[in-house]
Structure formats: structure tokens, C-alpha cells
Amino acid sequence: MNILHRFANPTRFQRLSKKIEPWVLVLMLLTMGSGLYFALFSSPVDYQQGHIVRIMYIHVPAAWMALFCYTAMAIAAAISLIWKHGLADIAVKATAPIGAAFTFLALVTGSLWGKPMWGTWWVWDARLTSVLVLFFLYLGYMALRDAFDDPARGAKSSAILVLVGFVNVPIIKFSVDWWNTLHQPASVIRMDGPTIHVDMLMPLLLMAFAFKFYYLWVMLVRIRQELMAQRIRALKHRQAIE
């Protein structure tokens, strides 16, 4: 765990982060740009779905990020609780709004895809319901974190909530396999490999990477901001006692 504790130092982290951020930003813009180009212009029209399939290039990566962010939060929350690691705790706080945003996008773009395809904005099948629960978990985390006068208490309490809610993640992943309802089963991350055509797979993967770089960049920015906020609180506290 020495690696973890090397980065626990705020000043060292901020220096490192400022060096990495421009590169991550560039990678994000490159993948986003090329992903959008292929998604909107150069990729084929699905013979069944027509142009509607282009929604997939936002919906699927957003859904992947919704799960990815929550998993990252759970790992960081566990680290922060077990090793009392301050930076891991800040990482959880920084990630939450990003995960919530992606979950929101996944839900809404899913509705926009569902209406023309299957005639309905929403259906209460296992996957949609559990993704909605995921959205509530993100919001619940942010609300719980903020609900205490003592920030340390808020941090620890909400970290436990993240871990408790993690049971939802396997449910989301496997719900389309366990229950045969409206949402389609997995076609990319499968044991036998993707069933999707490579012309569609490429913009999909490009957008997936773009969203990952987006997450990394925004998270680094938010961590730096929270480290500054922590320092401000400490200085104010010292001011008050002097």
C-alpha cells in the first residue's frame, strides 16, 4: 500500500495532477472528436433501426460509465475506510456528480431510444429499475455527505452507503441475462466476444474512451478543488483559534 500513501500527500498530488491534466484533456478531445465524427457521419445506418441507432453511441458508453464510476467509488470508499486514506475519500466525493450525470444521461437517452424503437418511454423491467436505483444511490450519497455539520462524519457515513449500495451493480449487469424483458441482452461485453459489427463497434469504443478520459479529467479537477477547500477550512479554523 506504499503506492497509495505516496499519493496521499496533497501537494504532491496537486503537482502531479496539474502535469497530467493537459494530456488527459487532449486525449479526451481527440477521442471525443473522432468518436462523434464516426457516430454521426461516417458510421452506417442500421438496416432495422435507421439513424436511431446513433443514440447507442451516447447511451451505451454513458451506461458503462454509470457502472464504472460507481465501482470506482466503491473501491475508493473501501480504501478510505480500511486505510483511512484521505485522498481516496476525496476521490469518492469528486466522482459522485460525474457518475450521477452519466446515469442521468443513460436513463434519458435510453428513453429517447426506447420511444421510436419499442414505442415506450419507460418500462419497469429489471435493468431500467436497477439503473434508476443507481441514480438514487448517487443522489443519496451526495445528500448524505452534505447532511452533517462534521465533514468527517459525512465522509465516513456516505462511504459506508456506497459499499452497501454496491449490491446493485451486479444486479444491473446481470439483470438482462436473468430476466428476459424489454431491454436487450449484452452484445458487447460477452464471454463469446462482441456480436456487434465492427463499423459500429469503433465509434462505440471511441466514445467509451472519450467518456473515460472525460471522467478522469473532471475528477482530477474536482479533487484539486476539494484539496483546496480542505486547506481553506484548515486555515479558517486556525484563524479562529488565533
Binding site: F136, L144, D149, S157, I160, L161, V164, V167
Partner: protein, 222 residues
């Protein structure tokens, strides 16, 4: 084991002293269900159709109302700190508190349900499944509710926050419980849903004491 029985007896004593809490929970349960015929109209077929769901949602909300006081008084007067420090593992203490909470909240709900099923025109043949779903489900409400109560202990607007945290986690309970009743009424078996509900109960029994104890230790340490 003697430490645990002391704690258990204390909880029962406290619960008996505050017996009005149980009446309030049942009162809310009844009023919430009674509102529906006024809200959606008294047409008996429709009431029968939505009855199981309405009863279950009302049970959920009534249970949430009572969750806040699970740890609150002990937290405020310092007993919680003593409980954390006692030789009895906190997880067992939580189990004792949750069990007594279920006796004073869940059981009254189960006993009141037939009256409400009558008011909502739920067919008699569905009653055994309904009671079974409540018997399996209400402990889960107390268990998962305990996690929320422990997490939100001492927070601003703790009661509302607790409900917001816990209700999404209880959606599977609602789905399986009402699913069992509906499946039975439609001729299929309630078994699958009831088994899933039982599985959720076992999962809650494993998860809730551990998570609540961890949260309570955090609350006391601050």
C-alpha cells in the same frame, strides 16, 4: 450470551414503555391505505387490482416513519457509546434492536393487513400469500431501515434523509412481495417470488448488522 439477553430485555422494556409508537405506525398504515378509495374512486375491481401494491407501499412508508427512533434516543443520551464499548459485539446489539423494532412495527403491520385487505377488496384466496410476503418482507424493512437509521444518525433532516436512502434499496422487496400476490391471483405460483423474497431476507440478515454496526461506530467516534 448473557450480555445479549440483557440488551434484548432492555429493548423490550423500552419498547413497552413507548407503546404509543406502535399505534402511530399502525395508524399511519391504516390512514394511508384508506386514502386510496377516496383518491382513485371506490370501484371494487380496481381497488382489488391495486390493493396488494397499495398495502405494501403503505407498509413501507409506515415502517420508514418509525425507523428514525431506532438509534436516536440512545445516541442522544449517550447509551449508544456504552453499547459500542460493551463486550457484546455491536452486530448482535443491532440484531437485538432490529428484532424488537420488528416486533413493535412489523408484527402490528402484519396483524392489521387483513383489515386493510378487506377494505381494498383483495380476494380472500390471496390473503395467505399476502401475509407470507409481509412476514418475509417486514423484517427486511427493519433491517435495511436500520442501515439508513445508522448512516443518517445525527444528520440534519435525518428522518427524511433516511427514507430517501432506504426506499430505493427496498424496491426489490416491493417487487417480489407484490409480485408474489399478483402471481398467485393470476393462477401461477407465488413460490418463485416468495423464494426470492426469502433470499433478500437472508441477504439483509447478513449485510445489515455489519453495515449498521460500522455506521454506528462512526457516529459514536465523531
Amino acid at each position: 450470551m448473557s450480555g445479549l439477553s440483557v440488551i434484548l430485555r432492555r429493548e423490550i422494556r423500552l419498547a413497552l414503555r413507548h407503546s404509543t409508537d406502535s399505534f402511530m405506525v399502525v395508524g399511519f398504515f391504516v390512514i394511508a391505505v384508506v386514502l386510496f378509495p377516496f383518491g382513485v374512486g371506490p370501484e371494487s375491481n380496481m381497488l382489488a387490482r391495486i390493493g396488494p401494491g397499495v398495502i405494501w407501499v403503505a407498509a413501507l412508508l409506515a415502517a420508514m416513519l418509525s425507523m428514525e427512533r431506532l438509534f436516536q434516543t440512545d445516541y442522544e443520551d449517550g447509551s449508544l457509546e456504552l453499547l459500542v464499548l460493551s463486550p457484546v459485539p455491536m452486530e448482535l446489539t443491532v440484531c437485538a434492536k432490529v428484532f424488537v423494532h420488528w416486533l413493535t412495527t412489523g408484527v402490528p403491520l402484519i396483524l392489521t393487513a387483513p383489515l386493510l385487505a378487506l377494505m381494498m377488496n383483495v380476494p380472500f384466496e390471496a390473503w395467505p400469500v399476502m401475509l407470507a410476503s409481509l412476514a418475509l418482507g417486514t423484517p427486511v424493512l427493519s433491517l435495511i431501515g436500520a442501515i439508513g437509521a445508522a448512516l443518517a444518525l445525527g444528520a440534519r433532516r435525518g428522518g427524511v434523509l433516511l427514507s430517501l436512502l432506504v426506499l430505493p434499496l427496498l424496491i426489490p422487496v416491493l417487487i417480489f412481495a407484490v409480485g408474489a400476490i399478483d402471481a398467485h391471483l393470476m393462477g401461477g405460483g407465488a413460490k418463485a417470488n416468495l423464494l426470492l423474497l426469502g433470499g433478500v431476507l437472508l441477504g439483509a440478515l447478513a449485510l445489515a448488522p455489519w453495515a449498521s454496526a460500522a455506521a454506528l461506530r462512526q457516529a459514536v467516534a465523531s
